[in-house]
C-alpha cells in the first residue's frame, strides 16, 4: 500500500475502531449505543448552543494540538502542553486583573494574550534549554515541568490570589474580555465560543505556511528527519529545538487565553481539566499537520462535549474510559501506521 493512502486510512481505522469499542462499552453499561450516539450528535451539532460549545473546546484543542505538533516536526515529544496551558492561564488571569480599566480593549486583550503566550513559551523553553544544554530527554523534562506548573499555580492561587472562600482569582477587567460570538454577532447563543476561534484558524494556517512553505520550515523539518545531514547542510539544529519548543509553548498559552479571556474570566483551580494531554492525541490523529489538526480537534471537541451531554444516561466515569480508550487507539494505530510505512 502506498504511504499516501496509509496516511488517510490509519486515522480513519482508529476512529472506526474507537467507535466500535465505545459502542461495546455503552452496551455493557446497559444502554443502547445508537440512542446515545444520536443524543450526542444532536446535542453537539444539532443546537447552536451545543455547536458553540464544540467550537470553544475545539479552539483550545487546536492550540494544545499545535503545542505538541510543532515540536514534533523536530521529533521532540512535548508532553508538557498541560503545564504550559496552566502557566499561560495563570498569567492571563493575573495580567487581566491588574490592567487599568481604562485601557482600550484591543490593547488590553493583546497584552493579556501576549503574557499568556510568553508564559507558555518560557515554560516549554525550559525543557528545550535542558535538552540543548544538558541532553535531558524532553519527555521527562516536560512531564516534570507539568508537576511543577501545577504546584506553582496551586500555591499562588490558594496562598496569595484566591478570592476568599473560592478557588478562583479575581475577575479580569471588562476591557480584557474577548467577546463571544453571541455578544458580537448573536450567533451560537449563550455559548462560550469567542472570537479567539477565528484567530486560531488563522494561526493554524500561518503555522502551516511556516512549516511547509517557508525556508525556516524546510530547515526545521530537515533537522527533525535527519539531524546529522542537517548538520552537514549547515542547519542549526539546537536553534530549531528551541524555537519549536518556544512556538509550541506559545500556542498552549494562546489556548489558555481562549479559556480565561474568552470564557471563565478568571483563573480557577482545575480549569484546564487535562486538555493539554488530549492535545497529544489531537496532534497524533492529525499526523502533526497544522491543517488536519482543525479536523481532529473538531472530532475530539465533539467527543468531549458530547460526553457531558449524555451524563444522564452514561455515567461520567464510563465516558472517561471511552475518551481515554479512543486516545489510546489513536496512538496505537498511528504507531502501527509508522511501522507499515
Amino acid at each position: 500500500m502506498n504511504s499516501k493512502n496509509l496516511r488517510i486510512l490509519v486515522p480513519l481505522l482508529s476512529l472506526l475502531s474507537a467507535l466500535a469499542v465505545s459502542s461495546l462499552i455503552i452496551a455493557l453499561a446497559g444502554r443502547d449505543p445508537l440512542m446515545i450516539f444520536q443524543k450526542m450528535l444532536h446535542a453537539t451539532l444539532g443546537t447552536s448552543y451545543g455547536f458553540g460549545q464544540v467550537i470553544f473546546r475545539m479552539t483550545t484543542l487546536v492550540l494544545v494540538g499545535l503545542a505538541v505538533a510543532i515540536p514534533f516536526q523536530v521529533r521532540l515529544f512535548n508532553i508538557g502542553a498541560e503545564g504550559q496551558l496552566l502557566m499561560g492561564a495563570f498569567a492571563a488571569a493575573m495580567t487581566g486583573a491588574m490592567l487599568p480599566a481604562t485601557l482600550p480593549s484591543l490593547l488590553a486583550i493583546s497584552l493579556c494574550t501576549l503574557s499568556a503566550m510568553t508564559a507558555g513559551a518560557c515554560w516549554a523553553l525550559l525543557a528545550g534549554v535542558l535538552k540543548v544544554r544538558f541532553g535531558v530527554n524532553e519527555v521527562i523534562a516536560t512531564i516534570m515541568l507539568n508537576f511543577i506548573a501545577q504546584g506553582i499555580t496551586g500555591y499562588l492561587l490558594t496562598w496569595h490570589f484566591a478570592i476568599p472562600s473560592t478557588v478562583h482569582t479575581a475577575k479580569i477587567t471588562d476591557n480584557s474580555i474577548i467577546p463571544t460570538f453571541d455578544s458580537a454577532t448573536g450567533w451560537l447563543t449563550n455559548s462560550p465560543a469567542n472570537l479567539s476561534s477565528l484567530v486560531t484558524v488563522g494561526v493554524a494556517l500561518l503555522l502551516w505556511i511556516l512549516i511547509f512553505r517557508s525556508r525556516f520550515g524546510y530547515e526545521m523539518r530537515a533537522a527533525g528527519l535527519q539531524p546529522e545531514a542537517a548538520r552537514y547542510g549547515g542547519i542549526n539544529a539546537k536553534m530549531h529545538t528551541l524555537t519549536s519548543m518556544g512556538i509550541g509553548g506559545a500556542m498552549a498559552g494562546l489556548g489558555a487565553a481562549n479559556i480565561v479571556l474568552g470564557y471563565k474570566h478568571y483563573y480557577e483551580s482545575g480549569m484546564t481539566g487535562g486538555t493539554g494531554f488530549t492535545g497529544i492525541a489531537v496532534a497524533l490523529l492529525a499526523g502533526a499537520h497544522p491543517l488536519w489538526l482543525l479536523l481532529s480537534a473538531f472530532f475530539f471537541g465533539c467527543l468531549e462535549y458530547g460526553g457531558l451531554t449524555v451524563n444522564a444516561w452514561i455515567p461520567k466515569d464510563i465516558f472517561m474510559i471511552i475518551e481515554a480508550l479512543t486516545i489510546l487507539l489513536v496512538i496505537s494505530f498511528s504507531a502501527l501506521g509508522k511501522r507499515l510505512q
Binding site: L210, R215, A222, L225, A229, Y232, G233, G234, I235
Partner: protein, 513 residues
Amino acid sequence: MGIAVRLSGVSKTFGSFAANSNISLSIEEGTIHALVGENGAGKSTLTKIIYGMHQPTSGEVVIQGKAVRFASPRDAIEAGIGMVHQHFMLVPELSVAENIILGHEHTWLFGSLPLKYAKALILKNSEAYGLAVNPDALVASLSIGEQQRVEILKLLFRKASIMIFDEPTAVLTPSETERLFATLRSLRDKGKTVILITHKLDEVLAVADTVSVMRKGEIVGTVPASSVTKPELARMMVGRSVLLRVINPPASPGETILNINRLRFCTPQSEERLRGLTLHIRAGEIYGIAGVEGNGQNELLQTLWGLAPEGSVISGEATLKGQSIIGKKPAKIALMGVSHTPENRLRHAVILEYTIAENLLFGRHREAAFHKGIGFNSRTIQRFTAEMISDFDIRCTSPERQPLRALSGGNQQKVVLARELNRPGISLLILAQPARGVDIGAIETIHKKIIDARNNGMAILLVSSELEEIIALSTRIGCLYKGSIRHEFSQEEVALKREAEHEFEKEIGLHIT
C-alpha cells in the same frame, strides 16, 4: 548442477514506472553470477524480489525447483537465501558472536544463549571461507571489511545457500576486495550460489562465472564472464562506447587556495589522528589523497567542513585564501566558497524523505537566487532542477513529487554531485568518494565535470579509495599514511606515471601501507 534461482516473466512496477519488466533469468547453482547495469537499471530491485523485500507485480520466482512467493525476507531466509546489504545491519554494542545468532537464538526466554555452539561454528566457517574475525570482539571496534565478514558469517550461520551481495566492494579497500573475492570463490567451490551486483567491471571479469547485463529494467544479455572484455560489457550496459578513462589535459595551477600547515587532530578519546599534516592546493588543480581508510581522511574532512566532534583538539593551520577555517561552522565555511560532497551520502548529504527538487537545494537553500518572500521561488527551482537532471542524467520520473528514497543508489549520488559541483562562487571543492556507486557511463560524465571545474579555476581536494580514480583525475597526489602526507607526487611525476598506470598504482601502494 541444478538451477538455484529461476525467474520467469518477473515484473515490478512502482506506480506506473516499471523498475523490472518481464525478466527471465536462470542462475545456476554453484556459480558466481554478476549483475551489472546502469544506475536505475533495476538491479537492486531484482535482488530485493529474490530476497522477499519486494513482491513481484507479475511473474514467477522458482528457488531450487520450487515456485515461491515470499511475503518478507523472513520467508526467503527460511528458503536458504541471504543478502549482504550495502549498509550493514549489525548492532555495534554486541559482540560478533551475539550479532551472528541474533534472531536465531533457538532458546527459551531465560535459557542461556547457545554461544559456545555458535562460536565453534563461527570458527569453523571463518577457517573454511577465509573470514577471519574474533567472535568475542565488539562489532563497534571492527573495520568495514571485518563487519562485512560478520555479515557473511551471519548468512552461513543461517545456512544460506544463495547469497546476494549488493555492491559489496564499494566500501572496501583494494586488499579487502581481494580477500572478499577469495571468500566468494571458496563459497562457490563449496556449492553455494553467489549473486553479485557491482559497477566495477574489472571485478566482474576477475571473479564472476556468468554475467547478466540489465538496462532499463530488462536483461539485455547473459554471457560467460570469460567470453567478454571490459569495453564490450560497458557497451552492452550503456548502449554506446564508453571512454574508460577521462581525458585529463595538463593543468595550469594559479595561486594557492587551501593551505594546510602542520595540522594536528586529537579525538575526544585523545587518539592522535592527524600528525602534522601539511599540504596546499592551488586554483585550477586537483589534489588527490591516496590512502587506506582510517589514516586520517575522516578527520581531515571533518576539520575542513567544521564538523569535528565536540571535544576534539585541533592545532596547526588550515586557511582558505588566507582566512582560517578551523573552528568555523559548515554554513560559514560554505559561504567562504567551499563545497563538499561527504563520503556517506545517505546519512550526511541528503534528506531521504524530501523530494528530489528539495534535495537539489539542500545546504544551498540559503542562496538568495532561490528565495521568494519567506519561502522558495518555485519557478526558479523548477528550472534549476530540470537543468541539473539533464546535466547529470539523473534517472527519475517526477522530481517535484518523488522522494529521494525512491531513487536508485547511483542516482542519489548524482543528485549530491549536481548540487555541490554547481555552487556559485566557490573556490574550493572537497570531493570524498565522488564516484562511489555510480555506473561507468556516469563516471565518465562526472569525471568530465570535475576536470571542467578544475579548468574553471577551482581548487579541488579529492579523497578516494579508488586508486584508478585518483590517478586519472589528480594533478598532484599525496599519499596519506598515519595522519600525515608521507609522500607527494609532483605534477610532472603524475603526468608521466599516469601512462603506466599499473606500475604507478603499485608505487602508490608502497607509500600508503
